[in-house]
Symmetry: C2
């Protein structure tokens, strides 16, 4: 894989990289299209990374569709698909991990201890394997994008991180492979997460709002949907994820909820 | 720096890299000479890395001689010398660290908690900056070489690690920038460390020896030198640094001592 990546580089190609856990949807494909525009060759990886799942999380049942994924990659003209096995990525005696302090402890980090350590580690490994010039991530995983940018800066990685907008279903639900878990009534309830965030955004655009008020309003909206159990609603700085007391100078409103066994996240940027 | 490194690569050059903390001695220069043979261009870094020093260690008084170092680099025809400032390497908000589990907890790791986290992190950063094909380290820091090899394997870094032999003063003392700390009587006492290891090696070459017996004999020899205070003597596997009960199948005998305020380490490989 690295040999192929190096050959592309030697040919003067710029490489775009889209790391995924597979079960590809339009959100992933929108990142592929950004890469096809921004780089002369595109590598996509499919790897359900065990080190970013907690012991009680959904590693075993994470949805997979290798044939469908490869067909989508062919349609989008992806140049290289990299699909390692867990034993390739974490051989016997594996023991090296990357931690990013501070920005991994709130938001999703609070309920998923170790998650971002697994994410940072696998992304660094994939970057070293694929040696991309640019790498593409979706805004839906906002905290992940901030952590990866920080890691790239801190470790002097020669990769440009590009964040593509969250793609949404017609009713506003952010696209996610985990949406496949939702039962029909849960699926009908799920857009309430986006709607609560979007109405908060509209309120902020009329002028800065106090965070306490805003989160209370979002939680109130979410609680009207009995199938939704909020995990967090936080208003943070888009640069360093620090909690903000007011949305005046730009903010991210990020939230996680549980609907049945499914955990969904979403966020909206206030400019 | 990365731009210069990339230009060399684009020209088809292979890059050898010698990371140092400066105050260069013949041990460092022997690594430069290995690099000059093994690669078409050689980068040497000088950076006294604060994150690998503990709060009570010798960061402030670590010996420095920039002019002398640069003169030696000129004489050895080093192509690029990289001398970053601490604020370049660890800018405001820095928070990313690399840990290597297991092999960092014994030997020097026991008395220097956090040391190898600092080493792994700065070496990864320097590798990303210099983008070398090969990197050269001295055997004197044996545990460091095993940890860096493990990190390179685990994180899929495209760097070949080359370990050069320990260079010694005529009386056997391993060359080290820290030897400059030794007062005259301490300097006279210091070769006892090497002598104890070397006589242990000779005993092992006559046939495998029990580790308990061997370490007892080494400690007995060291204790004959009143200025020497042993910190550890351990017999471990050269691959994974696990303690061995017998030296029959290959081993490393590693030791650390204090002489006055100076901490010295040395090791010998039993084949």
């Amino acid at each position: 894989m690295t040999v192929a990546a190096r050959r592309l580089k030697a040919l003067g190609e710029t490489t775009g990289f889209v790391p995924t856990m597979g079960y590809l949807h339009e959100g992933h494909l929108s990142l592929v299209r950004l890469s096809k525009k921004g780089a002369s060759s595109t590598i996509l990886s499919i790897f359900v990374n065990p080190t970013q799942f907690g012991p009680k999380e959904d590693l075993e049942k994470y949805p997979r569709d290798t044939e469908g994924d490869l067909e989508k990659c062919r349609s989008e003209d992806v140049d290289i698909v990299f699909m390692p096995e867990p034993g390739d990525m974490y051989p016997a005696g594996y023991g090296t991990y990357i931690t990013v302090d501070g920005i991994t402890s709130n938001l999703c980090g609070r309920s998923r201890p170790g998650h971002f350590k697994g994410v940072a580690t696998v992304v660094a490994k994939l970057f070293n394997i694929a040696q991309p010039d640019k790498a593409y991530f979706g805004q839906k995983d906002f905290q992940q994008t901030v952590i990866i940018r920080r890691m790239v800066r801190d470790l002097n990685m020669a990769v440009e991180i590009v964040v593509g907008p969250t793609l949404r279903e017609p009713d506003g639900l952010a696209m996610s492979s985990r949406n496949a878990y939702l039962k029909p009534d849960e699926r009908r309830a799920a857009p309430a997460l986006y709607q609560a965030l979007e109405s908060a955004r509209l309120r902020c655009e009329e002028g800065g709002v106090s965070t306490d008020l805003l989160t209370a309003q979002i939680l109130e909206k979410l609680r009207k949907e009995p199938l939704i159990e909020p995990e967090y609603v936080e208003v943070v700085s888009p640069e360093n994820l620090e909690p903000l007391s007011h949305t005046g100078g730009g903010a991210v409103i990020a939230a996680a909820v549980r609907i049945g066994v499914t955990r969904l996240i979403d966020n909206i940027i206030i400019s």
